[in-house]
Symmetry: C2
Subunit: 332 residues, 2 copies
Amino acid sequence: MVTMEDISIVLGVSINTVSKALNNKPDVSPKTRQKVLETAKKMGYVPNSLAKSLVTRSTGTIGIIVPSVRISIYTELVEAIMERAAKMNYSTFLAISVGEVGNEAAAIENLYQKRVDGMIVVPVDRHPAYHSSFRVFNLPLLYVLSDTDYDDSYFVGVNLRDCARLVTEHLYESGCRRIALLCSTCTGMKTDIETGFVETLREHGVEDPLQHVFQPSLSQMPQDAGFEVAQILDPCIDSYDGVVLEHEFLYFGLHELLDQHALSCPGDLLVAACAGCGRGRSLTSINIDPQQIGYDALSMLMDLIHYRNNVAEKKVVTAPKLTIRKSSRRPG
Amino acid sequence: MVTMEDISIVLGVSINTVSKALNNKPDVSPKTRQKVLETAKKMGYVPNSLAKSLVTRSTGTIGIIVPSVRISIYTELVEAIMERAAKMNYSTFLAISVGEVGNEAAAIENLYQKRVDGMIVVPVDRHPAYHSSFRVFNLPLLYVLSDTDYDDSYFVGVNLRDCARLVTEHLYESGCRRIALLCSTCTGMKTDIETGFVETLREHGVEDPLQHVFQPSLSQMPQDAGFEVAQILDPCIDSYDGVVLEHEFLYFGLHELLDQHALSCPGDLLVAACAGCGRGRSLTSINIDPQQIGYDALSMLMDLIHYRNNVAEKKVVTAPKLTIRKSSRRPG
DNA sequence: GTGAAAGCGCTAACAG
DNA sequence: CTGTTAGCGCTTTCAC
């Protein structure tokens, strides 16, 4: 491996003249710089950013932690963030929490060891244990999509509780009286959505709302979770006339179940999802724009990294917007 | 930030006793180790892996470069690799090439500066310029999914040219005589697939096979590319009785086009895709298992990292397997 | 068992 | 403009 020292020896200059030349610092004569640049290229020099970061205390990397990249919301979020970060010459560590707090915490610790300049995380629950340590690390941390209970935290996303309220209320208004909630457990969105759902049911006089919440026994992708939850729902599907989905992907399982029971979706049962990108589907859902959230999150993180605590607002929360589609429109 | 030195001062021991204790090295008395561990935790010590890596010359990170994470093959590939890598205590830098050689090369350079222990890349074309530099870097590099022209390269994936041949031949066997190929340009799979397609057409006596290849003017996601390509195909769709898709996602656009022309898919026109995971669709396609490829790739990379050039085989290429579904089955 | 010293590759003062 | 010195936080000899 060729180092700055190697170059300095070849050229008979000091090692830090090389450093200055290579880093476009002033205080170096044009011809020296020229020569350094040339021989560096000729010798195949590639800077060692470990060494550089060690002294500058900045690595030019950020960390992103999401429950999965196979769920479209997260996929798009990640790609949006990465695309912009790359343009700003930041590299990104990606980590997958699989919706488990343990993995999330481990990833956090790991990324801190790597001395990332900042982190964007989709938190799995509302009170991550590591939260407080970030102040002592003095490391910018940004929660995204679903917020935590800490009000000293930075956040970009939506209020999932409100999403659930809006969606559930919509089903009531559309005439549903017996509504179920289907959840997955690995998206980190369950808690808030359940809360909003339960509240709304209670406001409508339902006694024990929690019994209408269905979730898989194990942590699985929403696509798969949908099928398991459908099985749990199977014995009592007839007693419901409305279904709220935590995530649009859960629909795959439900759809199959409805088929088996010869139930039609907008006919016998209305369905609406709390979170979805809603591309090319006929499912009523809250429209979440992961790309926009990603962009906002990244620019906020960059502010945090560069100006520390001088950011305008700590929380950027988009108002939920319901897009009504076929799945919740009473035919006729 | 608390360092080993801080701990050593508090405990009145030498700094490298702390190092040994923290790293489970022998040559340290049980009680010293115990005390070090305790105070380290109490003081909130988190090792600085930059410093460690600088001396050990190993970072515990790998880099992955894919054209996009919004294309299911790559999504699953990435998630599979990351999941396993995390279990082996490797962190992963992810980079997106958007199917452009420039981005790919930039990402490579960047990751080398970060001194990753190895890289897995889905190459955008068959002769990446950076290839030769890897030997001088002595950095394990593994191409995945589609191979390059270098036979000193390590590779895990399929032979996309064979895939294209198999698919095209299948359409001929099913009775098609005028076959078109629809490509996207950002997946890094175009070249090989085009080659296989063109060869097969030529073998069947087609004079100028290239004129039956359709691709978008710009680099876009296959989903979107499908719509643009469909437009290009629009004037002459009637003259085809078979369509080969580079990627199953291109079907979205084609489907719309067929609708507009009141053409039915297995009826008037047969369709088959060269690459797809084929989940829940009725599209004939080569079944690629990105998860398996990811696993194989990672374990090969680990071998390269740990045992350098002593890996059993340089190329692991899975034979393409065609799954025939509704889209290419003549009705009746 | 433990400590002192050297050094990984680089940047950041400061002198000259 | 250029060179010298002193680290960044850690591991690695090698004495004791």
